[in-house]
Symmetry: C2
Subunit: 430 residues, 2 copies
């Protein structure tokens, strides 16, 4: 990790810059993938799966028997942990439910909103050696709470044509049973276009590699909504001498092990903390199975020494971290002044891992500075809010003239007439 | 308007298809516009404005004097109408404010969310003969309520280098004073990239022609958020014999006058209503100043006669209209069963114009079937929700083992360590 002491504010943008990911060249690949699937349907999916997942499948849907069998294959400790996490995540997201609340903006003019679950949603869970069953919970639980009618899940098969039992168990525990063995950009394209086997959905959620990300961007162009734009995961820790350097080091490493492009930043106004954290990082690093990855990620990582908490918060808001850990004495200052962050972890006993897995908050969060404009996934992401209004005859008599004047000033006379013709008819009724 | 009697469900998709807009060819134009502005900054804006708006400007910002002068130029009736609309829109959007609500998901594990206004937002208001001051209210009011710190507004100048006084008055009444005389794709590009005169923003809102829409899509690729994808405006009216055919005709025409690509649909299960509406449309059409536009839009418009209300709602949910007018006896059935719509207008005295201008709901709504996955603009669109969590030492003792098991199963050992190291230290403290 490289340390920057009291960097000038004019240099922040440059110092905080994320590595640029250029995905332009992937777009032409996506055009091919989408066109092929549009033309050949499931045959194309069979070919892509043979090519990228090294397995020959003709049916993509996971059978009821496979789901049952998976339940047997997951050990009881993990099952129980998934149940605890499920309980917490469910509680936190259930509290996000909106109550329909009618407002009478004027006498006789009632307006309200209702939340309706998006009818058809697709969840993507990446493959790889480790099964990301935690993401199944993070996407599946709010989808269920939102009342989405059709929830499908795609995840790539391994060479034996199977999906990891922990993913199947988590999905089934959440209540998702429409699961497809399909991965990569072909899964995103199939959910966007629909094939005989894979249903078309209205919104696609979930993480993935650069191909999956490019496919989601392309899907958006075709009118399918996506959860949010993606980038490498990142954490910023702000700490002072109140923090435990060993804990800080563990948090930095837990981010660094994600991938060589993970972003790890420490901001402090306590200079003496820096060598302590550096030593603890070196010590803990050696025992990690993913040491090589973490080490490479740390090479791009930065420590900023700043003068005071005000400069610290300004720098944090400029960076807009996905995860922000606040381990300082005056944490209220940061709670009050944070503008740009995905999720905030407060105090010495709140590691990022808690939110990654089981405390209740969602781990699908805006990276890459997107926290300046985007929220993380929540119940909101799975619903649409429809506005309603009902105006009585008296209400239109109260509001009508206002509408007529405005419509006329915008030169939309038919808009005006829609009111005038009603007001006329009410006059005649008297 | 063409009538389809009892269309088979398998034909709905085809019959309800919107005209395809192909914007692929616009993307290369956008690359040029954005690159030119990136390279030449305000000089490029000067040139584009001379080229497209036929006026030579060197300073884009509207002066305080111009805003003051505009106030004198707007007549009192319109000022008062704007004040009434402002009051209603403000009330409805203020009720959308979320209360921070902490949940203790487990003893010692507290999680909550706060809403924070997006720091910098840009509002785009199109030009043309008529001033769209209503959109200033619809975007400006929620932006102010959300607490966005910097709200800028761009709108193209006329040939005299001015913005219509009604737009300036509405903006100033809302509390927006950072207004720029800049239109088209160059305005979107400037707000995306930032220039010496035009600030860079995090999210861009507002309607526009195909160039503006293409520019917003391109801005999104560069990491700036946008309100929603756009398409031509549309209304679907569902009516039975409870409805007044003259009112229905007026509502259909108020949509048809928007543009030749406006979509207008009537769905009914009362066959006798159809000729009455058709006659009323012909009669009212003749007196409209925008008759030619409305007439052309009506040529693509459709009347569907269906067997009953269940088929009606299924067809509506398949179409996903931006505006849905429900003028039927059993309106509760539609309130209960609508899944896909932007905004719903209930009863005989609730014309779409009410929501377009002054009842309180927002008129920036998802068109083109996007109501299947997107909501209209609301306070939500101007805030981000940040999640927070704080875990006590006891809380981590309750939750820690769950996190360790899950992290280990996902083979993320540093994630596990971030918990283990804390639990260890707590053991040693005893």
């Amino acid at each position: 990790m490289r340390t920057y002491k009291y960097p000038a504010q004019k240099d922040w943008k440059k110092l905080l810059k994320r590595p640029i990911e250029n995905r332009e060249h992937l777009e032409s690949i996506m055009v091919d993938v989408f066109n092929t699937i549009n033309k050949d349907g499931d045959d194309a999916l069979v070919n892509f799966t043979a090519q990228f997942d090294n397995v020959q499948l003709s049916q993509f849907k996971v059978s009821e028997e496979e789901i049952q069998a998976a339940t047997q294959l997951v050990n009881n400790d993990l099952k129980q942990a998934i149940r605890v996490a499920h309980f917490n995540i469910q509680q936190f997201h259930a509290a996000q439910q909106d109550n329909k609340q009618a407002i009478e903006t004027m006498e006789g003019v009632s307006c309200w909103r209702t939340s309706v679950g998006i009818e058809k949603v697709g969840l993507y869970i990446p493959g790889g050696t480790a099964p990301l069953f935690s993401t199944v919970l993070m996407l599946g639980i709010p989808a269920k709470l939102a009342g989405c009618k059709q929830i499908i899940l795609c995840s790539p098969p391994n060479k034996e044509g199977k999906i990891h039992p922990a993913i199947l168990f988590a999905a089934s525990y959440v209540g998702i049973t429409e699961i497809y063995k399909l991965g990569g950009s072909q899964a995103i394209a199939a959910m966007t276009l629909g094939t005989a086997q894979i249903p078309k959905v209205h919104k696609i959620f979930g993480p993935g590699n650069q191909y999956v990300t490019a496919a989601k961007q392309y899907a958006q162009k075709l009118g399918v909504a996506i959860d949010m734009p993606a980038g490498p995961s990142e954490v910023l820790v702000v700490a002072d001498n109140y923090a435990n350097p060993n804990f800080i080091a563990a948090d930095l490493l837990s981010q660094a092990e994600h991938g060589i492009d993970s972003q790890v930043i420490l901001v402090t106004y306590a200079e003496t903390l820096i060598p302590l954290v550096e030593q603890a990082v070196q010590k803990q690093l050696n025992d990690l199975p993913r040491k090589a990855i973490a080490q490479e990620a740390l090479q791009n990582s930065k420590i900023f020494l700043v003068k005071n908490k005000q400069i610290a918060i300004d720098l944090i808001n400029e960076y807009a971290p996905e995860h922000l850990i606040v381990a300082v004495e005056e944490e209220d200052f940061f709670i009050k002044n944070i503008i740009n962050a995905g999720s905030v972890f407060l105090g010495n006993y709140t590691p990022e891992s808690a939110g990654d897995y089981a405390s209740g908050t969602n781990h699908t969060l805006p990276t890459n500075g997107f926290a300046k404009a985007y929220s993380g996934v929540s119940l909101d992401a799975f619903v649409k809010k429809i506005t309603f209004q009902k105006i009585t005859a008296e209400g239109l008599q109260n509001l009508g003239r206002t509408i007529e004047i405005m419509a006329e000033a915008e030169e939309l006379i038919a808009h005006k007439n829609a009111v005038s013709i009603r007001l006329e008819s009410l006059k005649n009724q008297r």
